[in-house]
Amino acid sequence: MGHSSGKSYINEEPGLLSWFTSLDHKRIAILYFVAVMTFFLIGGIMALLLRLELFAPNTAPNVGQILKNGDAYNQVLTYHGAIMVFMVIIPGIPAILGNFFLPLQIGAKDVAFPRLNLASWYIFMIGAGLAVATFFNSKIDTGWTFYTPYSIRTGTSVVMMVVAAFIMGMSSILTGLNFIVTVHKLRAPGMTMFRMPLFTWAIYSTAILQVLATPVLGITLLLLTMERLFGVGIFDPKLGGDPVLFQHFFWFYSHPAVYIMILPAMGIISELITTYSKKTIFGYTAIAYSSIGIAAVSFFVWGHHMFVSGQSELAGVLFSFITMLVGVPTAIKMFNWLATLYKGSIEFRAPMLFALGFLFLFAIGGVTGIILAVTAVDVHFHDTYFVVAHFHYVMVGGTLMAIMGGFYHWFPKMFGKMYNDTTARISWVFIFIGFNVTFFPQFILGAMGMPRRYFDYIPEYETLNKISTVGSWMIAIGFLFGLYTIIRGLTSGEKAPPNPWGSKTLEWQTESPPTMHNFDHDPIVTAGPYEYK
């Protein structure tokens, strides 16, 4: 474990300014952490507002209409979606936990291109700043999907927002590139590809997706900008364009993007389940390959967002078929995690509760994904609350649960302090129960036929909407407990030992928090990452 001089990446360079010029991957991760958590707070408040508006139909007295009008509602839903997707969930795990732990897990001193890494953060912040600035210009109301021709005609700051997304995409590409090179070039002696922790595998697969898919989003958004600014006819039928073409382009990026969001989460889950059941992972190779498999197949399923868009029956059927194939590696991962619990020594600390919560919610998110992939059934469910519930089960129930679990798991390593496990577990209880209360009723609303992005609804849908809104308050309480836990941990947590949970991966074999150079002596790796014998 080396000497303990009290020096760490946190205090080796003094002054606040040194953080903004630091090339250290850990410091850059913390920069992302602060930024992303701020955006999460904003996006979360938007979500609470949406639910509050939907508490009752608009005609109800007092509680009926909270927001000024339909435009205000559409703006709030657009910012909620755009912020949560582009500024929270996509950068969340790779840019924060990936940046911090990918080099540590493979025994490297830093990422391959530290300067590029800092540049990525600045590029991200410029994009994010521009996105937030639209709020003070004319608030956009296109939904996070920017579907044409609405996005060409609406009189709001679409160009500005689209440029913002383009810039953030650039940052995402550079981060992905950095990680790919890091994994190929900077592994410690003995750290073969198949000795890499599964979190690193997941970040690596995600990086490939980021590099390959994001340019398509960039080009699409650029075309949209050209059309709005210069009247070049690409997507608007009035100019001879085709609005459905935009959907093809958009989902060609945005479907792989949902795996950019979920793969890193799956990586975290592998780390948590092995650590807190003190057991080697079941089916290491299967999990590693299934990450790559999901990444590859995810490029060919975009048309399942478009079964009723006017694409041909044959196209719909083909996309449905390929989507079924992507379900298989996902199912394999679920069974592998379950098998890892078998004959383990399971400790119900907060991170493990989040991991088990992930399995619970992702199981539901997964099976409802298969339901939606069935063409005939999707025709009814498409663009209803069933879809809203499904993707919140995978994105929030999946990714966000994993982020929370990952934060608590790595908190002692990142900050050198312990957090209070009891308040963290209380936070989990509220988030987990609140989540199900919020989103399960939305499956039923979808079955009943309630379309999404609705400012108002018919009386039949009232009861379930009320329940859903109450659930959103429980989630808010849960996150307040989480915030309290983090702040308490930072200000008055006990000093953390190097390896409080008895993990086997490399990041736990150095000090908490690590020094600027991560390891005092270059590690030499002689075994796999989960040798709990």
Partner: protein, 323 residues
């Protein structure tokens, strides 16, 4: 607790929460959906139940617990790859069969042209009748040819389990054969702006006899007095989704109640009298004079080239009558 009881009662009654089944297709979709729900429930029970069982059984007893070192089990892994694959392919194929029925347009169908515009649907029949309600005869193949005037919309009848986007610049189609008489909700399912959630209409399924009667009486609209004709157009052209006619409150645009002959202040401060020419201009060039306090640009669509002189005259006559 109340919700739990509600859910259990529904589940016991075999109710899947889906709306009334209005067609044969709806029944076949529900059968497939019912199967999917059962398989999903069993899969989740295995995963979540297994997780809870292992959690209880292998709860950590001491910090020195020894765990089994199991790296993989090829037989198990093949099993849990192949079984899901078979299930997925089976439901895929089943879905395809039903989807094919949905997408194969019958040759003998009654065709109705349905156009979506912000924020209303309009149905047009072969004999020229235009209606904001979609009226169809029972037990007859009906094919809707969908178009969109401005942005994307999606024609969704929950009770029939069918939905199809209306895309500007091309036609899309949808068919059904209604089995039940009555009124069914039609929603717009593709986000289309300010009043997206207000863009609904009714699908009225009537007997063939009533349908024929309705079609004839609607086509006789030309013989009605001007103001009454205007009232009809006010509905079918969706003016009513933004303008109130029986009270002065603002819906999306200004109310037209008791406005005729009044002076209004425009956004540039000028005063304008609401007369024939102002109404004509507002319909043809909605951005020209916007009443003060309303958004600029106005969300009001232009009706340039869409209204005949006689339709225009009857609308004006109707506005005059709003006292």
């Amino acid at each position: 607790m109340a919700i739990w009881t509600l859910l259990m009662n529904k589940a016991m009654a075999g109710d899947t929460f889906m709306p009334v089944q209005g067609t044969e297709i709806a029944k076949s979709v529900d059968n497939l959906y019912g199967f999917l729900v059962v398989v999903s429930f069993v899969s989740c029970a295995i995963l979540i139940g297994g997780m809870i069982y292992f959690g209880v059984k292998y709860k950590r007893k001491s910090a020195h617990d020894k765990t089994a070192y199991i790296t993989h089990d090829t037989r198990l892994e093949v099993l849990w790859s192949v079984i899901p694959l078979i299930i997925f392919l089976a439901v895929f194929a089943w879905g395809w069969v039903v989807f094919h029925d949905m997408r194969s347009m019958p040759a003998d169908a009654l065709e109705i042209q349905v156009t979506g515009k912000q924020w209303a649907w309009a149905a047009e029949y072969k004999n020229g009748v235009r209606s904001s309600d979609v009226v169809v005869p029972v037990h007859r193949n009906v094919k809707l040819v969908l178009a969109a005037e401005d942005v994307l919309h999606s024609f969704y009848i929950p009770s029939f389990r069918i939905k199809q986007d209306a895309v500007p610049g091309r036609y899309t189609t949808l068919w059904f054969n209604a089995e039940k008489l009555g009124e069914f909700h039609v929603f717009c399912a593709e986000y289309c702006g300010t009043s997206h959630s207000g863009m609904m209409t009714r699908l009225k399924v009537v007997s063939q006899e009533d349908f024929d009667k309705w079609l004839t009486s609607e086509s006789e609209i030309g013989t009605l007095p001007l103001a009454e004709r205007g009232k009809k157009y006010f509905q079918t052209r969706a003016c009513a989704s933004c303008h109130n006619v029986d009270n002065p409150s603002v819906k999306i645009g200004p109310s037209l109640f008791q406005k005729w002959g009044q002076q209004e202040t425009m956004s540039d401060g000028s005063k304008v009298t609401i007369d024939e020419n102002y109404v004509r201009e507002s319909l043809m060039e909605p951005q020209a004079k916007i009443v003060s306090g309303f958004p600029k640009p106005s969300p009001m669509p232009s009706f340039q080239g869409q209204l005949s002189e006689s339709e225009l005259a009857s609308l004006i006559e109707y506005i005059k009558s709003l006292k």
